[in-house]
Every structure is written in structure tokens, then in C-alpha cells.
Amino acid sequence: MKEAQDLRVGNTVKIGNDLHIILKALYNKGARGASSVKMKTKNLTNNSISETVYRASDKFEDVVLERRKMQYLYETNGFYTFMDNESYEQMDLNADDLGDALNYLQEQMTIDIILYGTKAVGVELPINIEAEIIYTEPAVRGDTSGKVLKPAKIATGYEIQVPLYCNIGEKIKIDTRTNEFVSRVL
């Protein structure tokens, strides 16, 4: 068990039947040594964010999550099949499990799947991924409008902002944390 005052950003705790990941934790000393902790947490079951307060001595079940690297194979009827690169064990996740990761998920991509027992409670993309631009408007020579970015669609159908010099067919590197263009892949 962990006390509220020992919890840090990134820790996962069990509240009722739900897992919550700590997004923010702020500790304040009250009177007579009684202290309290204000936390921002994300419910991993329904993705809701809560701002809550606890006594510093409130106890939480410390949840140990397993992180496995798994390769995305294919999608069938709304289920996305992944394979563990070491054990070759396969696992199906649905769109809700994957959330925003679907914006960048491409076949043979390896991602981290976070498990609580046998249940997937989160996924983590690599910080940077490479994707091909499948559509973007060409830059117009002499365009002095002052725009420096334009929308571009990648193979998954997701759209990001790219510099004007990027063209269809080019591969680009994207920061999946911020959804921002990093560089062209040469």
C-alpha cells in the first residue's frame, strides 16, 4: 500500500474497481502536522479526469502494471491484432483501448501496451513515428500570405500541420506527444 503523500506523477492506483493514473500531485502541510495532497488523475477505464484531494495518510493499493512491446499486425471487424515480439502471443484490442493511438497506427508498428493482469489499460506510441503524406496542397510560388504551415493527411487518414515545402509521397517524422511535424525523413 502507498500513502497519498508518497504518490508521484505516473503512479497508478486502484480506486474502487477503477485504475487511476496520477497526472499531477501537490502536497500541502496543514496545521498540527496534518497534511493533504491534491491530485489530478485520469480514470483508465473511462478516461475521465478528476481533481481530488486526500489526506496525506490515505492509503492506496499500489498497482503494478506490465508494459509489453507488441507489433500491430492487422485489423478485422473493429479489432486490432497485436503480437508480442518475444513470445509471439497475440492480443486483440478495440478502438476504445487504442484511443488516439489510432491516429498513427500502421501495420508492423511496435507500440507499448500497458497491462493490468490480462487487461490492456493503456497504450504508448513511440515518441516519434514516420509516416507518408498521402495528400497535401502544393505550395504556390510567390505566395506572400505569410502562412508557414499547411494541412497534410498521412496514411491513417489523420491530418497534421506541415511546412509548405512538404509534398505528397514524402515521408515525415512526427512527435506523437504533441502531434507536431519534426522533420522530413530523407
Partner: protein, 393 residues
């Protein structure tokens, strides 16, 4: 949400403040919700005589002011078997509710509220009324309630009879003090008289006495509580302290000390309205002193590494807005910081505070404390805010 039953839990750690606030809160709640059953569970009942003079808590429960007070240490298995938890459960000052109660309340009570200690710190507003998800799950909801001195906090307990008390005392300001000075044949009508109530933790008051003696003004110090008594004793020379202890009374040059008996909460509240200066300790007396609107010095509860100075700074940052004179505030700030600059609770350590400037600035400080008192009474009524919160649950 309407509640038919409220259980309040209080774990007294030390001193009497926790019990004092709990008793005050329970009484105010009962007055506001007369049809609600209110029980108070308390772990230390042998100190009841401090807030209710001559009352001895003998049995496992007593009914006072239509509130049932229960000695937690005497609860037996029959009580636990027949236990019915309340719809609303209040943890005073983040105390731990006993497991036998909590495990039932988890799915049988509606709401648990942690009513915290008073603080003037900025972070209090951000914690007020925030939900506290219970790790064990259950259907009960829990919230934090943060007393404070701004409209966006939980406020402080006002005496429900505060206006009536003020009117009475305005008509006859000396009547209460005379009750305690008449046995010593002290004339309260003397010119330039200063009256001081003193209720402190362990502290050396040598600097204060020297400043009062230098002023040469007739002064009466009404001393409350054992720690204050011992503080006076240590601060006087050995001859005087013996006399003081024997008679509960001592007259030196121009300063007279009267050791007060235990008086009721209501009487103590009235007392603070009657004296020129109040020296108070802890959170409840601080709240009373603020409401009394007289110049006061606050002795904060001493914490590790002088952490009490953080609390003092927060109070000073808040109090500053009520001052018209920047220099008067600066003098007050210096004194209050020095006054609280104790590493440990000690009678011996002399902090050499400069009380003279405080005494010279009494008028300016009095204006500030009056303004603060009015502001708090208008904007920080804990009971009103608490009841409004219950309504929206």
C-alpha cells in the same frame, strides 16, 4: 440534500482546541438543524471540564445541548452490533474514523466530509469542496471542507449570538471583567487602564512585561490555561512566581496578573470582546480574536523546523489589506514573526520581541482588526456556507 442524522468524529491530539471547535460546531449545527440527530464521537472525554466548567464525563455517553456525546474508548461490542451509521459523517481535522464504523459507512452513509483546520494560506481555496475518491470504493461520497478567511473558502464559525453579545457588551463593557476583578478589589475605572487576555502555549513573556512596566500604565493581564500560567511563572522572578502560583493573583508595579478559572466557551468569547488586547493561541481562539475585532497577537502551534512561520506569514499577508498605515503594519508584522519564532515550545527562550511599537500603534491596529472582523463576519460564515454545500449535494 437533507440529512436526518449527522455523526461527528474528533480525535483530540493535544490541548483543547480540537474539542473546543468540535463542540462549538456541533452546537451551531444543532441550532441550525434542530430536527437532525447529531452524535459526536470523541476519544478524550476527561478534558470536557475545560470547555464546560465543572462537567465530568463519567459514562460512555452524555447528552449536552441535545447532542449525544459518545466516548469512543468505551464503545462495546453491543454498540457495534446495533450500529446505525449517520447519513452525513464528519471527520474533524482529517481524523481517522474507526474501521468498525467506516466499513459500514462505506455503503450506508451518503456523504463523508473532512472538516480541516483553519488556515489563511492561498492553497486552501483550491482544496475547498474538492471530492476525495475513496480507495476502497463504496457508494459514499467524500469531500474536503476547508475553513478560511476569504469568501472562496469554508469560512469560520461565527458565534450565532455574536450581534447580541456585542450589543450587551457595548452597554456595559466592564460588567464581565468586574466578575473576575471584584474579588481582588481592582478598580476598572482608572485612567489609561490596559486590559489583556493571555492564552498561549509555552512562551517567555519577559519582553512583554518589561515593555508594559516601561509604559507605566495600569495593566491587568487575565491569564487563561495552564501553559499560560507556567509561561507567566517562568517570566517573573522567582519570588513573584511563587506568590502568583499560591494565590492565582499577583500585583507588581503597574501590572496585575489574575489567573482565570476554566470558563465556558461562550464566556471566553465574550471576554475577548471586553479586553483591550488579546493574546491567543491555536486556530479556534484565533478565529474568536478575529471576530472580537480587538488588537491581538496570535501564538501559532509550534511545528517542526519553525513551520508555524509559514502559517503566520499567510495570516500577515491576509491581514495587511486591512491596515491604513504601512508603518503600523510593518511593526506588527515584525513583532508577530518574532513572537512566533520558536524552534520548540519553551518557557525559557527569550525572543526579545519589541512590544513597544505594538503598544504605540494600538489605535492603528485596532482599526485594522475592526475592519477584518467586519469583513469576516460578512463574508466568511462557515455554518451558512456549510449548509449551502449540503443543499447542493
Amino acid at each position: 440534500m437533507e440529512f436526518k442524522s449527522i455523526d461527528i468524529f474528533c480525535d483530540v491530539i493535544d490541548n483543547y482546541g480540537d474539542l473546543g471547535v468540535t463542540y462549538r460546531f456541533a452546537r451551531e449545527l444543532k441550532q441550525a438543524l434542530p430536527h437532525c440527530q447529531i452524535r459526536v464521537f470523541i476519544n478524550k472525554t476527561d478534558i470536557f471540564h475545560v470547555i464546560i466548567p465543572n462537567f465530568i464525563f463519567k459514562d460512555e455517553k452524555h447528552i449536552l445541548d441535545n447532542i449525544t456525546f459518545i466516548d469512543l474508548t468505551k464503545i462495546n461490542s453491543v454498540f457495534i452490533e446495533q450500529l446505525q451509521v449517520a447519513e452525513l459523517v464528519i471527520e474533524m481535522f482529517a481524523c481517522q474514523i474507526p474501521d468498525f464504523y467506516f466499513n459500514v459507512a462505506l455503503n450506508s452513509s451518503n456523504v463523508i466530509i473532512n472538516l480541516e483546520y483553519l488556515s489563511a494560506e492561498n492553497w486552501v481555496e483550491g482544496y475547498h469542496l474538492k471530492e476525495s475518491l475513496i480507495p476502497q470504493g463504496g457508494s459514499v461520497k467524500k469531500f474536503f471542507y476547508m475553513p478560511g478567511l476569504t469568501p472562496n473558502t469554508g469560512g469560520i464559525l461565527l458565534n450565532s449570538s455574536i450581534e447580541k453579545v456585542k450589543k450587551e457588551l457595548k452597554l456595559n463593557p466592564r460588567s464581565l471583567l468586574e466578575k473576575y476583578t471584584n474579588p481582588y478589589q481592582i478598580d476598572l475605572s482608572v485612567k489609561d487602564l490596559i486590559t489583556i487576555s493571555l492564552f498561549s502555549y509555552e512562551k517567555n513573556f519577559t519582553s512583554l512585561f518589561q515593555a508594559l512596566q516601561s509604559s507605566n500604565k495600569p495593566t491587568i493581564i487575565f491569564v487563561f490555561g495552564e501553559k499560560s500560567q507556567k509561561s507567566i511563572q517562568f517570566s517573573l522572578n522567582s519570588i513573584d512566581s511563587k506568590t502568583y502560583l499560591e494565590n492565582n493573583f499577583l500585583k507588581t508595579q503597574n501590572v496585575t496578573f489574575i489567573q482565570m478559572p476554566f470558563i465556558s466557551q461562550d464566556e471566553f468569547d465574550r471576554f475577548l470582546f471586553c479586553t483591550h488586547i488579546n493574546i491567543v493561541r491555536g486556530e479556534d481562539s484565533l478565529a474568536r480574536a478575529i471576530l472580537a475585532g480587538k488588537p491581538f497577537l496570535w501564538h501559532a502551534y509550534i511545528q517542526d523546523n519553525k513551520y508555524q512561520l509559514v502559517k503566520v506569514k499567510a495570516f500577515l499577508d491576509y491581514f495587511e489589506q486591512f491596515f491604513e498605515s504601512a508603518s503600523a503594519f510593518l511593526n506588527y508584522k515584525t513583532l508577530l514573526n518574532d513572537f512566533n519564532n520558536q524552534l520548540v515550545a519553551s518557557y525559557e527562550e527569550c525572543l526579545n520581541e519589541d512590544y513597544q511599537k505594538f503598544l504605540n500603534n494600538l489605535n492603528e491596529i485596532s482599526h485594522a482588526t475592526e475592519k477584518m472582523s467586519y469583513f469576516v463576519a460578512q463574508n466568511c460564515n462557515l455554518l451558512d456556507k456549510f449548509l449551502k454545500f449540503l443543499d447542493v449535494l
